[in-house]
């Protein structure tokens, strides 16, 4: 069982309470596809991914980024039982979408950097640690149903 401090719970809730899902979600996924281009393998049907400029204005990618970010809402509501909360999504990504779970970590890294760029000095070392811990737990829950 993951132990969360009050600081961690408040920090995570505070971040999600403040962020603009449309901007952050789309920017984070676009960033992932640009910084780690091999992740584009899962987006063959998403239109023009020819270069960074195209990826950044691609509406299908933008929409999907928002979907992924909203996928973290259930983590926020289930911080004390993430494994159960993500069980069905984990099965989906493993058995239907066939996504290599390493990609969850790559997306997490890009989401963190997107947030850092938005929050500036507010994204200090302790906030970074709390947010990274949160994403690590989500990623572990997402990897759980891969067999």
């Amino acid at each position: 069982m993951v132990e969360w401090t009050d600081f961690e719970r408040q920090t995570i809730a505070g971040i999600f309470g403040k962020i603009d899902y449309e901007t952050v979600g789309s920017a984070a996924l676009a960033r992932c596809l640009i910084v780690y281009p091999w992740t584009q393998r899962y987006f063959g049907n998403f239109g023009n991914l020819y270069n960074a400029a195209a990826i950044k204005i691609n509406p299908l990618i933008a929409k999907h980024g928002v979907t992924i970010l909203h996928g973290l809402d259930r983590a926020l509501k289930n911080m004390d039982n993430m494994k159960e909360a993500y069980s069905d999504l984990s099965v989906l990504h493993s058995e239907k979408l066939h996504v290599d779970p390493d990609n969850f970590r790559l997306f997490s890294d890009c989401l963190t950097i997107t947030l850092a760029a938005k929050m500036g000095a507010d994204f200090n070392a302790d906030v970074q640690a709390a947010f990274q811990k949160f994403l690590t737990v989500v990623v572990a829950a997402m990897q759980r149903q891969y067999h």
Binding site: I55, G120, A125, Q128, A129
Partner: protein, 141 residues
């Protein structure tokens, strides 16, 4: 692989950062110590509390080395030769820590450069830091 455009982006970022080398370096180190506590074990002989003189001076050294390497990336193995020897035979820092510090450096740059740290710059810098770390670890075995 780094394109000419990417090498220019990397150089421009380090030119912006060099005047505040100690602040950026100290912040990246502090982020690493907070998110990867195992990295603190290499600093038991120093005071690495936030803004300590040791942290600032050490952060400055690291940023200046990164900045110097960026002036001629094709010559990294020449520029870094003395640091390679130091890390392999004296410091013997486990190379997984290079990854932690590189990532925390990216986060620090994002916090300070904001929107200027766009995806293309992030990609270029990530590639540069990975190459730097790989060269640094070359003499390990």
């Amino acid at each position: 692989m780094l394109s000419k455009k990417e090498k220019k982006m990397i150089l421009r970022i380090w030119e912006r950062i060099t005047p505040v080398a100690q602040d950026i370096g100290a912040e990246a180190l502090l982020r690493m110590f907070t998110t990867a506590p195992g990295s603190k074990t290499y600093f038991s002989h120093l005071d690495i509390s936030p803004r300590s003189p040791h942290l600032l001076s050490h952060g400055k050294k690291i940023v200046l080395a990164l900045s110097e390497g960026a002036t001629d990336i094709s010559q990294l193995s020449v520029t870094l030769a003395p640091l390679q020897t130091m890390h392999a035979y004296q410091l013997r820092i486990d190379p997984s820590n290079f990854k932690h510090l590189s990532y925390c450096m990216l986060v620090t740059l994002a916090c300070h450069l904001g929107d200027d740290f766009m995806a293309e710059a992030h990609a270029a810098m990530d590639k540069y830091l990975s190459a730097f770390a790989a060269v640094l670890a070359l003499k390990y075995r």
